[in-house]
Symmetry: C2
DNA sequence: TCAAAAGTGTTCCGAATACACCCATGA
DNA sequence: TCATGGGTGTATTCGGAACACTTTTGA
């Protein structure tokens, strides 16, 4: 930013500025499926269509703060793993006015996801891995979901983001189901097992699942992780 | 975005909106070093400091169009590989007003980079891989450069972005120098060689470099690349 | 003929895979 | 006792790393 000639003569009342919003992709892993929470629009435009929960960025809050506020107000959730996804700025992406939207991804564990789905009004869950089967979404939100899906797919095996989708204690089978859902392919059991254990991210709790008609699996806990890949400034 | 109650009562004259800019990280690979082009600020604030070239996003242009325009006006360049990097939105990142900036990375080949450095007024090149040695930059631009450096480091071995920094015909040594500069580490010669050739991205031109006191290396060309990793919607 | 860097072949090692087998539980 | 899925051990395959070696040029 170095447009000083323009900047000094820049009069907010004279020159239009775009509006800026944040849109949230709320992802959960429930019943071995990756789901996203969308809001059914109650008014025009795109009335009746599903849309990402979002809101305007106020002058006194950062993008992250705006995202956290939307998470609170629209989904009734406190903290969650929030990560900036991409910024969408096509001129006509919203018919009402010029709106630039910064998309964030929030990864929720299953109880939180289900609580939000039941608790907040108008929230519906759809399958993130089968976007073709979803009825048309509002605005360019289908494209945003596509980017979110691709990002999750690209990062889940190289970073620790997946654990934000699992309960505090989980089995290796759950972890593998999550990876398989995100990648859309089956994974070799013992190879996956070894790879995950060799990473040093998993801490065995002595406990085992109390479940069904077979040998109970051991429950693991996500141990903080060593220096993982980070990417979140500003 | 579903904030209709707010939206319908939203009066641009009443509610302030943030300004939105694009900032460009112009990266080149010259003399086996990764460099970035910065503009010396001629006026307050941060007068005399180096800053990323940038500009406001107009109402009738997309973010990509704004980035291309800045590339043209500030660096005198036509087309270039432009990729969105990250959006910076801290409240106080600019002392004059609330400015949200969408950063883009442009990868330039060496002649283009040098031409821009010489041609456009006030442009200075600094070493991207040695940001600590650079005098303090304006605003949060040092953080932006850090994100750009990390992104390049993370992608250069997994995608084909590196070729945008090389001339149309290049030697494997040049390609390896580029990767070593981006990663900040030495790479094994034959392993690198085999890995690159096995990818099917490189097309041998029959030609060889006309150069110095040793066996001339073969010149390769970047062949379109198969379905590489993409990530650029809206 | 020597220095320097390009380019190749061979071995070694580790990670991923495939697969066989054992273990623990409910029915 | 059987079915089911958890968990382990072993052989195989594949790719990268290491390293020695040959090739080709200018000086």
């Amino acid at each position: 930013m170095d447009d000083d000639a323009f900047l000094f003569s820049y009069d907010p009342a004279t020159y239009d500025r775009p509006s800026v919003t944040v849109d949230l992709v709320l992802i959960g892993f429930v019943d071995a499926r990756l789901s996203v929470l969308l809001l059914r629009r109650a008014s025009a435009p795109q009335r009746g269509r599903l849309a990402l929960p979002g809101g305007f960025v106020a002058m006194d809050e950062s993008l992250e703060q705006a995202a956290a506020r939307v998470l609170r107000d629209k989904a009734g959730l406190g903290a969650a793993s929030l990560e900036q996804l991409y910024t969408f700025g096509a001129v006509d992406r919203d018919p009402r006015m010029r709106i630039i939207s910064v998309a964030y991804v929030a990864l929720l564990d299953a109880p939180t996801f289900v609580a939000a789905e039941r608790g907040a009004a108008g929230l519906h869950a759809i399958d993130l891995t089968d976007l073709e089967a979803v009825p048309p979404l509002a605005f360019d939100h289908a494209a945003i979901l596509g980017v979110a899906r691709d990002r999750l797919r690209g990062k889940i095996d190289h970073s620790d983001i997946g654990f934000a989708l699992l309960p505090e204690r989980f089995t290796l089978r759950q972890l593998q189901d999550l990876h398989e859902a995100a990648l859309g392919m089956a994974l070799n059991k013992s190879a996956f097992r070894r790879r995950m254990l060799d990473r040093g991210w998993l801490e065995p709790t002595g406990e085992r699942e109390a479940e069904a008609s077979h040998r109970p699996a051991e429950l693991f806990r996500f141990r903080g992780a060593g220096p993982a890949r980070a990417e979140r400034p500003a």
